[in-house]
């Protein structure tokens, strides 16, 4: 069963670059003079790569946040980290730092994590539900700030911000995929490196402490790395919600394994999930593609509610 899923996933990956508004035929991709060649190597392939590695970062980040904050609903999105990155990026667009959008997005994410951290240290013993509320409050605050930025921006800038907040995987040229590929792989390597620590944290903070883990240090390292990852991902693709929420949950119900054993699995399937969503968005659109964030939110929204209902029952 496991292998069938892997094969199907690889197949999706393999065919994804060929389908869209214009279908590319396999025979043309090595023919330099053909239109298909440019389309494939400059647009489609980079897009699929970005989709895969962005999905991977989002999924892995979701899994780590859920584990570290002890709440199945905490992801970089529900806790406002992604909104922070969005606001940072929008700020860069409006105030003319276009070339530094990635850096601003990254700062937005880090700033949010710092705020969350300073609040958690004031809460008694990891009150995660209050933390979630703080995240929601932050998100509202950020969207208000985003509104102000809209108000200050001119027409092209607001169009850019709108497009950005809907999420987009448009990337031109293979070399632009490098930051996201590197970041996501580093995050995976780092989290696998801390597998034992993560597993101990998954028992309880006290138990991890007693077994000789420097709980605060490990938590900080992991959360900062996740924020860096999210900062990079959001600054390139815009906020793409729900991947980090639903994919880890689905994988947990299928695999029935603890989170530390699902790090690479989540990485892989979250990537595939986003490639699939992107494939859908490119093929049901008419004049232009439906933004990827719309597809994931469409699938994720109902699932989030389903999760809430199921949690109540348990």
């Amino acid at each position: 069963m496991k292998y069938i899923f892997i094969i199907i996933s690889l197949l999706i990956m393999a065919v994804a670059p060929f389908y869209g508004q214009i279908e590319i035929s396999l025979s043309n991709i090595n023919n330099i003079s053909a239109m298909d060649h440019k389309l494939f190597w400059d647009l489609r392939l980079p897009r699929v790569i970005v989709a895969f590695f962005t999905g991977a970062i989002l999924g892995l980040s979701g899994l780590l946040f859920q584990s570290l904050f002890r709440n199945p609903m905490s992801t970089p999105f529900t806790l406002g980290v992604a909104s922070g990155a969005t606001l940072g990026t929008a700020f860069a667009i409006v105030f003319g730092f276009i070339s530094m959008t990635a850096m601003f997005g990254f700062f937005g994410a880090i700033l949010t994590v710092v705020i969350l951290f300073s609040i958690t240290s004031r809460l008694k013993a990891y009150e995660t539900s209050s933390l979630l509320l703080v995240g929601i409050a932050l998100s509202f605050f950020y969207s208000a700030a985003l509104m102000i930025l809209f108000y200050l921006s001119d027409e092209t800038q607001s169009y850019e911000i709108v497009r950005f907040t809907m999420g987009s995987l448009d990337v031109v040229g293979l070399k632009h995929t490098i930051p996201i590929v590197l970041t996501s792989i580093l995050l995976l390597v780092l989290s696998i490196n801390y597998q034992r620590e993560i597993k101990l944290l998954l028992t309880s903070y006290d138990n991890a402490f007693l077994k000789g883990i420097e709980v605060k240090k490990i938590n900080t390292i992991l959360l900062i790395s996740v924020s860096i990852g999210i900062g990079v991902a959001v600054s390139i693709t815009g906020p793409i919600g729900f991947v980090g929420l639903i994919v880890p949950h689905i994988l947990k119900t299928i695999y029935k394994k603890s989170a530390d054993k699902l790090l690479h699995v989540t990485f892989f399937y979250s990537g595939i999930f986003l490639v699939l969503c992107d494939l859908i968005s490119r093929n049901i659109g008419t004049a232009s593609d439906i933004p990827i964030g719309v597809i994931t939110a469409f699938l994720g929204g109902p699932f989030f509610i389903y999760l809430l209902i199921r949690r109540k029952k348990v």
């Binding site: 028992t203 309880s204 006290d206 007693l210 077994k211 000789g212 603890s258």
Partner: protein
């Protein structure tokens, strides 16, 4: 070996005692007296700079050293991830013991449960699992917080035999079970309202006059046993 000097917080006041290398300790006390609070201070979960372990200040130990020196077994198993199996939990606990994981499992009769997810175990089974984990951790000093509170008579006997065996190094046992305290015969510390009410040898604690002073007529001494006078 263990020394706490003049520690106070919102629950405990003026806690000051020490135990030597060859001593073990029983901590007794009414509900809410501060036994678990004291245990958490002693093992470092609650931060303080008043605890000394093997002549080193607990707050200055590295995380690894601390784990080698002290371990605390809480009354209830806390596990966040629902898919961690008993075997995996014990794997995480194996630190300084020569004992294999399988040995610990057999000792506590957990063979049939080892693939089960921890949160699905009954409270008694969880208690046994934590005991197995303490054997595998094998810290120089282990604090057990009510290790027999959820066990049936046979398991209690089994756990009693393990608690007094040399499979553990030094130990502090928090309990309400006077029989357990009496049979183990360790030094006794009695807490009341966050203060040390009694700290001396077992024989002195179990003198009739002292028992009456602490428990009134709620305890009955029959032969070599202490029971609640229902």
């Amino acid at each position: 070996m263990l020394k706490i000097s003049n520690f106070s917080n919102s629950i405990l006041s003026n806690i000051d005692f020490h135990i030597k290398e060859d001593e073990n300790l029983i901590i007794l006390g009414s509900n809410g007296a501060g036994k678990s609070t004291l245990a958490k201070v002693l093992c470092g979960i609650t931060y303080s700079d008043s605890v000394e372990l093997f002549s080193q200040n607990l707050s200055e130990l590295s995380a690894k050293q601390r784990a080698q020196f002290i371990n605390y077994i809480p009354p209830k198993l806390e596990i966040f991830d629902e898919y961690i199996s008993l075997y995996e939990y014990l794997e995480l606990s194996k630190l300084y013991s020569e004992l294999s994981i399988q040995d610990a499992i057999s000792l506590l009769g957990l063979d049939e449960l080892k693939e089960k997810h921890c949160i699905k175990l009954s409270s008694g089974e969880q208690q046994l699992s934590m005991l197995a984990s303490s054997l595998l951790h094998n810290a120089k000093l282990t604090i057990f917080d009510e290790p027999t509170s959820n066990l049936d008579p046979q398991k209690t006997l089994n756990v009693y035999n393990i608690l007094k065996s040399d499979k553990l190094q030094n130990r502090i046992i928090i309990t309400h079970d006077l029989n357990l305290a009496y049979k183990l015969g360790y030094k006794i510390l009695y807490l009341q309202n966050g203060k040390i009410e009694f700290f001396d040898k077992s024989e002195k604690f179990f003198e009739e006059a002292n028992l009456y002073k602490i428990f009134g007529s709620s305890i009955k001494h029959v032969d070599d046993y202490f029971m609640v006078n229902l």
